[in-house]
Symmetry: C2
Subunit: 198 residues, 2 copies
């Protein structure tokens, strides 16, 4: 026998979620069926509430319940520095480091010629507009260190530098708590060229 | 900044699903937020429909839209053999092999003393009741081959054999398409003792 049609449908939708294969989708579907109905209602409620209440901040495109978002409306922050990240999740990760007191800009992705994601598909225009209208002295490029993030950083640096704005990139090196044995060569060579006197 | 409260709530619920850690839960939550609303409605609809229409077959405890389920109501099947599985997913996997023409029984789990799952927590009583009332000549134990499944099979064999019913266990050996190099010792020794003349 095949899976009953209603489960088939759940699996069909769930397996399209990122990082979830057909087996995992099946496992999740059967699990969801067995969950107490209160739990399911809570999940559906949470999804609906999140989708209703969250919006993009019109200044940095962070996801937030308010516009401008709590970061942009925080008067304690330095308004002359912008940290450019790919996603709202990246913004939260950087903000947890607590060393950075400037503002942010969420691109909403990274350039990826292979996936046909060009400059018009992420918020590069909006970033440039903001750089022109606000008085920005430094842009920190905190895109991912994979090839898409690197491409995006190079592309942005080339456009932003001629505007007279300092462009920096997050430092490369060994992750804290990491084991040198397992670090890849590229990371080690970046860590060597970025070495500091103790 | 922390994650906005509505996302936090989604992550909180999603990370309780099996096989999903906090990072994956975050990734899924942000993905769900970005999905077109039609897609979300489809997912919620599918979950609700599956939960409303699916029930346990009162004979084999398979999940089905009808009771008895399509397998139990199939008059072509041999009614004297029962294949005992742990979950409805296992039933579907066995039925896909197509060699088996008998009926099934879904235990709804496996014995696991460490997790405090005893005989009263799975459908052992109901299985024994069915074995007594129906005219069953053979029970095939198709529980998993992990320690829980093995324990359950041994426990069931000990109870069912005295009832004069033949008890068999699925054959062990190398999985088809597998690489001997990567098979574990126990599987190889089971495959050797289960070798067949060609």
């Amino acid at each position: 026998m095949n899976r009953p049609q209603p489960i088939e449908k759940m699996v069909e939708i769930i397996k399209k979620l990122p990082g979830i294969g057909p087996k995992m989708a099946e496992r999740l579907s059967y699990h969801i069926l067995k969950m107490p109905s209160g739990e399911i209602e809570k999940l559906i409620d949470a999804i609906q509430k999140a989708r209703q209440t969250l919006r993009y901040c019109s200044s940095c495109f962070n996801l937030s319940e308010s516009d401008p978002c709590p970061v942009c409306s925080d008067s304690q922050r330095e308004r002359g520095i912008i940290c450019v990240v790919e996603t709202p999740q990246d913004l939260i990760a950087v903000s947890k480091a607590k060393d950075y007191k400037g503002l942010y800009f969420v691109l909403g992705g990274a350039l990826s010629p292979l996936d046909a994601v060009g400059p018009q598909d992420i918020r590069i225009d909006k970033l440039l507009k903001r750089l022109k209208s606000d008085n920005i002295s430094e842009v920190i490029l905190a895109t991912d260190t994979d090839s898409k993030g690197e491409t995006t950083a190079l592309y942005l640096a080339e456009i932003i530098k001629p505007m007279g704005i300092t462009v920096t990139r997050l430092g490369y090196g060994l992750p804290v708590g990491g084991d040198i044995e397992y670090a890849d060569e590229l990371t080690i060579s970046r860590a060597i060229s970025g070495r500091k006197e103790m």
